[in-house]
Subunit: 388 residues, 2 copies
């Protein structure tokens, strides 16, 4: 099977970027990734763009063609991918397939979302398109409500981890203080997190990820093609990749304290990499809510079912712990520009493996894992990255 | 390179299907395609869904997961693709890549759109997301206006083909009379077509395609995998495939009486097939407007630039002509369920090649071509199909 590597990365600062257009965000992150790869635009033979819901939020679809125009990419093939919050990782996955198929040698992959200009009800409606409209959203169901039910079930099946969920948020904010691209750079004390207002019991304010504008891009190259390039960085290889799905509605899931899509995707990625969970030095996982982070780390096999909270309490997932999770600040504090999130995870993983993460650099960051979830775990994409 | 074949097809009747949900349309077309392939659902290892804008029109994104649930497909990987009116063909193209990469042996590809329940202004706004929101749609620009400007420029560069455009519509309606899945089955006289009210000069009512609800699915298999299956039909091979892009805005195009994305995609498809335009027996081309059909047949090399109108006038593109175009009735009369359109084109091509087209069966239908365009030609996907 043809090997695929990341040879360039770029992202915008995440946040409330009211004065910036989709086109503007794409230009910054895209051109930065291309410059970082040290390639000429003419070497790019395909484009993949992850975007969740700019059709509703910005009136803008056909994002492949928009990015072609914004970055002046000529007549290369382009596609937008969408799978709720996993939209960016799906673009990455499709790009890998194009390269593995032998159709392309170098592909540009981007993700972008612009959300903060809309009112909270409009954003809530836009996000609700990631669940079933007829059976869930139209009945008043929202994602905080969905993951609140998941948390309650987790508390019932295992134990109450409300305090550990707060510690996930605390760690995220501490990490984001060291990430210049993060949306929230605030030193939030654990007691303030635990005392925050409820959003949907048991989730309170700091258990929820952010509404964010931002873009992130990566340049992918076939392993053989990467060798011939004059990049200033060594290529970071995708040694394992997994992609799985599940039903859309919460009520139809066989289990909700563990996600079948995560487990299936993880199994594929570990098998391809010939690795086990213990081999992973650090991971960026999908913390749309703090309970999700705890469940994800169990589904990834880092901790036993029901033991993810203990790991947080013991400091294992902190930046100086044995299995650092979301050193970037995660969706919770770096931000969650939905279509860009999967690629921003890649940005962090590559930055860490390169040793370029500055104040938040991990001591051991040879092998990183990214875990990107869509909706109520209806889509999951996992990749394992290793420096070559 | 690994060969890919279509082994099953299914589609709904196209039209105003007010009483049917997205889920319902998906179930009918998807299950029909699976049954037509004679496979068990467990043999499907990946899902690709083309959808243009159900997020705005129906509040529903995350269509991959919705289709998994509707068709009970377990934990297979799924993705939604979007590239305006080419969304369905992009799903097809991504599925081909997954198979060519060796990741999957059998993939299900579907497209769906539900539009007619919304008001005309809402549908117009939804469709406008396929152009640039800031630079075009927000200024009041619409697709009829865009293709009207293209038609005027074509008239200026070559000659007035308003009558021939009417003949495209006439042929489409005549063909649709013989297609039980077609939305409009009306025997519309040419004089009525030519006398219809203007929509955006020079385009009048019958120069514009329809607003349609519908779904279409195909089952793809690797050539080697297809041989081991017990399908009742022979596999139809994709002997050539092309995919190209272009800028989003009309004003940025180098030419508008010929589409660079179409020409680039056609060049790829012909080269891969080792064929020239004369080798194609029939084609389904993207007639979002009648002028588009004429331009497409020139870009595909069927007729010289500026001579597409002559070919229509001479009956070459009619069902009994030398190069039958849109025997299905096309977007004009079969209908244009946007995300499903590219796959409905496939449905027709496979049906013709199999010899199953009944009253509209072509005498010679060994090699068919599908041409699917997105927006103002910002995306184009072309495939050449041949019975094996």
């Amino acid at each position: 099977m043809r090997k695929v590597s990341i040879i360039g990365i770029g992202e915008t600062k995440m946040g409330r970027l009211a004065e910036r257009s989709l086109r503007d965000l794409v230009r910054e992150a895209g051109n930065n990734a291309i410059a970082d790869a040290g390639i000429d635009k003419k070497q790019i033979s395909a484009l993949y763009v992850g975007n969740f819901n700019s059709q509703y939020l910005c009136g803008q679809g056909h994002m492949g063609s928009l990015v072609i125009e914004a970055l002046e990419l000529g007549n290369i093939p382009a596609v937008r991918t969408e799978g709720a919050c996993a939209s960016g990782s799906l673009a990455f996955r499709m790009a890998m397939m194009g390269i593995m198929a032998g159709a392309y040698d170098i592909a540009l992959v981007g993700g972008v979302e612009k959300m903060t200009h809309q009112s909270t009800p409009t954003v809530t409606t836009a996000i609700a398109s990631a669940m079933d409209y007829e059976l869930e959203a139209m009945q008043g169901f929202t994602f905080p409500a969905s993951f609140a039910m998941i948390a309650h079930r987790y508390f019932h099946d295992y134990r109450n981890v409300k305090r550990e969920m707060g510690m996930c948020a605390y760690n995220a904010h501490q990490n984001a203080l060291l990430n210049p691209d993060a949306q929230m750079q605030k030193d939030v004390p654990l007691e303030k997190i635990l005392a925050a207002d409820l959003i949907a019991s048991p989730l309170s304010l700091f258990d929820c990820s952010l509404v964010t504008d931002g873009a992130a891009f990566v340049v992918l190259a076939a392993g053989d093609a990467a060798k011939g390039l004059k990049s200033k960085h060594r290529p970071i290889e995708i040694v394992g990749s997994g992609h799985a799905g599940d039903t859309l509605t919460l009520a139809s899931k066989k289990a909700i304290t563990s996600f079948a899509a995560s487990k299936a995707a993880a199994s594929q990625a570990y098998a391809q990499a010939g690795m086990k969970p213990a081999d992973i030095d650090f991971a960026e996982v999908h913390d749309c809510f703090t309970i999700t982070q705890i469940i994800n780390t169990e589904d990834l096999g880092f901790f036993a079912p029901g033991k993810g909270g203990d790991a947080v309490a013991e400091g294992v997932t902190a930046r100086d712990g044995k299995k650092p999770i979301n050193v970037s600040g995660g969706l919770k504090a770096k931000g969650h520009p939905i279509g860009a999130t999967g690629l921003s995870q890649m940005f962090e993983a590559v930055t860490q493996i390169r040793g370029d993460a500055g104040a938040r650099q991990l001591k051991k960051a040879d092998i990183g894992l990214t875990h990107n979830l869509g909706g109520t775990a209806g889509t999951c994409v996992i990749n394992i990255l290793q420096g070559s």
